[in-house]
Amino acid sequence: MRSIVSRNVHTFEFSGELDNLRITNLKNVVIQLIDQYKCPVVQFDFKDVTFIDSTGIGFVLARYNQIQAYQGELVLKNVTPFVRKILAISGIFQIIKVENDEIRKGVLR
């Protein structure tokens, strides 16, 4: 996982299989980093994520609540079709915004 803070946007880049073990290991670090910077926009970039399950849904929802608590915004980026499918089951997209680099590039072209 990479954490980048630039111009008030805090980006977390996740990769590989975001399963129960990985999330358990990552969780506290992510909580701490979000709290440390309290950026108005926090982005979770899922470009290189190949697997996610209900643990991941719980993690995203809990971070959404954490960021909401200081009036920040959570944005999900580059959600791959599989990750989208899992997250969609929970109805998460009704409350959390999704951005896609590819789509943005397509519009610019």
Binding site: N20, S54, S90
Partner: protein
């Protein structure tokens, strides 16, 4: 007909081993990536359920995963634990219901399993472990 059975310690680090072995068993069927990912997720949900709920994350006890494919290409997967079981199976299967909210569980495990399977049966009672039986016809994915 082809089948396999895997018994492993209920440790969270064995979840990746079990779900990966489960899909490896299906490799000769040449299924689509989509079908493989769906089955992998079902396995992850059922196994995490056994570790976290069945055995209360004590990292002890055994989990058995059995998978079989019929001649008609129907997959049956069974995940069994000998843990605390569930008093109210229907409540446990309700979307967003979780018995451990403080651990940031989403309560979506059974919903995901039901979404990706043709049928899901949960046999459990308080103190009597849990057996999850899922079926999925694989013909259209091969």
């Amino acid at each position: 007909m082809n089948s396999m059975t895997l018994t492993f310690d209920a440790k969270i680090e064995n979840e990746v081993f079990a779900r990966t072995s489960g899909v490896a068993f299906l490799m000769p069927l040449n299924l689509s990536t989509e079908a493989m990912m769906e089955i992998k997720t079902v396995l992850a949900e059922a196994i995490v359920n056994a570790i976290l709920h069945g055995y209360q994350n004590r990292q002890e006890g055994k989990i058995t995963l059995s998978m079989s494919i019929s001649d008609e290409k129907e997959l049956t997967l069974i995940v069994e634990d000998d843990g605390v079981g569930m008093e109210d199976v229907l409540l446990a299967m309700t979307p967003m219901y979780t018995s451990c909210k403080e651990q940031e569980r989403s309560g979506m495990g059974f919903t995901i399993m039901e979404t990706f399977l043709d049928s899901l049966e949960v046999q459990s009672a308080a103190g009597e472990g849990c057996r999850i039986i899922g079926k999925k016809q694989l013909k259209q994915y091969g």
